[in-house]
Symmetry: C2
Subunit: 199 residues, 2 copies
């Protein structure tokens, strides 16, 4: 007596695989698709196919792009002496939103995580080393996440890069702006103390 509409269940299942989407949300999304007009639904299906077909990794910085090079590597106004190393393409978008950084990026596509079976050879580390060969880069900013895996990856890469003679830096730790000291964990608070500066 189980009641399902196969085509609808199949669609809901696709949405359910998305990060952060549960069964009920997936069902609502599937019903939303049915409420679209034929052309809107076709446009949606097309957006998936097009994004998948056209987007690939920039051969220089490994960021996602639909052009030959990514718009950041192509931009002559960007400072080519600094590379900010991030885990994912999402992190590039987060940094670009600050409008504070005008150097280049390098996307690792993950972090070293022995538990998940991800070793350094699965990351785009050799592509990063290749970019340092011609000596235009003075500084590499390690901007991996402040997690155990992110820290380990930053430490690993900096150990490789230091013999090359490039300056390797790490993002500052501290209390988030707008946060409350009351809710800050001890490690963050002690790092904020360590990193204090004169006003």
């Amino acid at each position: 007596m189980a009641y399902t509409i196969p085509a609808l269940a199949k669609l809901a299942e696709q949405f359910e695989r998305m990060p952060g989407i549960g069964r009920k949300s997936a069902q609502r999304m599937a019903f939303h698709v049915l409420s679209l007009s034929d052309s809107e639904a076709a446009e949606f299906a097309n957006a998936i196919t097009e994004a998948k077909r056209n987007i690939h990794c920039c051969p220089v910085c490994q960021n996602l792009t639909d052009g030959q090079l990514c718009p950041i590597c192509q931009n002559p106004a960007r400072d080519k002496s600094v590379i900010c190393v991030v885990e994912d393409a999402q992190d590039v978008i987060a940094f670009e939103r600050t409008r504070e950084f005008d150097g280049l990026y390098h996307v690792l596509h993950g972090v070293i995580s022995p538990l998940d079976g991800i070793g350094p050879e699965q990351l785009r580390i050799k592509e990063l080393i290749a970019r340092l060969a011609d000596g235009t880069v003075n500084e590499v900013i390690m901007a991996t996440n402040p997690t155990v895996d992110g820290e380990a990856t930053a430490a690993y890469i900096s150990r490789i890069l230091k013999p090359i003679g490039v300056k390797v830096t790490r993002l500052a730790y501290g209390i988030p702006v707008g946060g409350s000291l009351e809710y800050a964990d001890e490690v963050t608070l002690s790092r904020a103390l360590d990193g204090r500066s004169e006003i």
Copy 2:
């Protein structure tokens, strides 16, 4: 200097139109699509197109189906003397999950809502009246949502159906099972008192 990848932005925009999905979730979902294999992405796009193409309203109960009639109307074991009137196809799924109701359904596809410009003629009310013509239906259960619009719709339809001579009932109001009296609103609580039954 704004940095976007057009194909990715277009995809994220599609997800952002979904109910309950904000800008950040939409972006994560778009990145998820990029992480799929080619065949998985094609399957996803296909699920949208197929669902949209194959799913239509059952000519009898107006529920969604991909067959000629919906599986519930087709099922000879269902009790044809009771019709449960709901707002949306999602509500049918919710009732079917209880495994308690073995009658038929009628999906209105909305509620009367003057503020949104939805009048009774936009709902599938005449299709409901047509189903009552042959006299097999003894009872119509009004199972619209307990909102102002849902109540008004239930009242409107019951006024039309009563002269036909069919019994019209409404879902019980009361405290939800597992809920806490402390958090129940006054209207619900007084309705639960009114509807009390002997143990």
